[in-house]
């Protein structure tokens, strides 16, 4: 079954986006990529520490679409600066906008995110904003030129699942853009649930990176995302209050 996700002119067969943070060793990353089947992978941008010499890019297969984030940005201007620096690497023009002013829950600043989306989209970036699931903000991001919106399921790194489920459902119904659930998904069942709801994809990092066996977990998420997507396409049956027999309602012997 051909069911590609088209974003920024790219046709993706995998609907599981993954991160590169929190791994016990970066050499796990290519194996996680393989096990997850992912085609899009996030990275962050930081000052080079002259002491260390690890290079995350050397662990990322070149076939992957790189999705640099703007983590650390507190304003639209800072996000724009980080995005331009990332773009200067020559490794593509995708960017995950992340503008955060709340250090306790790391909840995104939607207003600044909308401004950054507008600037970067006008410069030709493929803009995927991380956002709090608010309908009017999502519509403004679309208007500003976002290629997708990435609402959170629950705060970053919490593994608490789809606590924003009702708002996600509304975004999926009302925003004519791919809705990618980013942050908070802790279990494969939650990834499947997001996909059943009609999410275009999910983005995960912590749930895989901090699993006891990240490779097996990557593979579990791959299956869950694929299963959830199939269920969405198949169309879930109605939910009823009372029983409805699955077997013929005649007596056993007629």
């Amino acid at each position: 079954m051909s069911d590609p996700l088209i974003i920024g002119g790219r046709s993706l067969t995998s609907r599981l986006f993954i991160g590169t943070g929190k791994y016990s060793r970066n050499t796990l990353i290519p194996e996680v990529v393989e096990a997850s089947g992912s085609q899009v992978i996030t990275v962050a941008l930081r000052r080079v520490d002259p002491g260390s010499n690890d290079n995350i890019i050397s662990h990322i297969p070149s076939s992957m679409t790189l999705l640099p984030n703007t983590s650390g940005a507190r304003t639209a201007e800072e996000a724009v600066r980080i995005a331009r620096l990332a773009n200067a690497s020559g490794m593509g023009n995708w960017v995950k906008i992340e503008v955060i002013n709340d250090q306790k829950y790391l909840l995104p600043d939607n207003a600044e995110t909308i401004r950054a989306t507008e600037i970067l989209a006008s410069e030709g970036f493929v803009v995927l904003p991380y956002m709090s699931p608010d309908l009017s903000a999502a519509l403004r991001m679309k208007e500003a030129g976002a290629a997708a919106v990435m609402p959170l399921g629950s705060p970053i790194g919490t593994n608490r699942g789809l606590r924003t489920r009702e708002l996600l459902r509304i975004l999926i119904a009302e925003v004519d853009l791919p809705v990618i659930v980013d942050a908070g998904i802790g279990r494969p069942s939650e990834a499947a649930e997001a996909m059943e709801l009609g999410a275009a994809a999910v983005l995960l990092n912590t749930a895989i990176a901090t699993a006891h066996n990240p490779l097996l977990m990557a593979s579990a998420f791959r299956d869950a995302v694929a299963a959830g997507r199939k269920a969405y396409l198949a169309g879930l049956g109605p939910v009823e209050e009372t029983a409805s027999a699955s077997s013929p309602l005649t007596g056993f012997l007629g």
Binding site: G21, A44, L45, I56
Partner: protein, 67 residues
């Protein structure tokens, strides 16, 4: 020459004249880096011609793991 590299003020040798010279110092280890000179991104092809001057602010950044 005084340069402020990644927020740290240090004295550099006089033969560190360009961005390319700076990046050739052993500390940078020839990694894939992106350079900003006084707030402006320096394109890779301009590293050898981008001159450094006393008091310049240079940011040397690279990709790290993130979600």
């Amino acid at each position: 020459m005084n340069l402020i590299v990644n927020g740290k003020a240090e004295i550099y040798q006089e033969d560190c004249r360009t961005v390319a010279d700076l990046l050739n110092l052993p500390a940078w280890n020839r990694r894939l880096v992106i350079v900003e000179l006084n707030g402006e991104i320096v394109a890779r092809e301009d590293y050898t011609t981008a001159l450094l001057g006393d008091g310049d602010r240079i940011e040397v950044v690279h990709f790290v793991g993130g979600g």
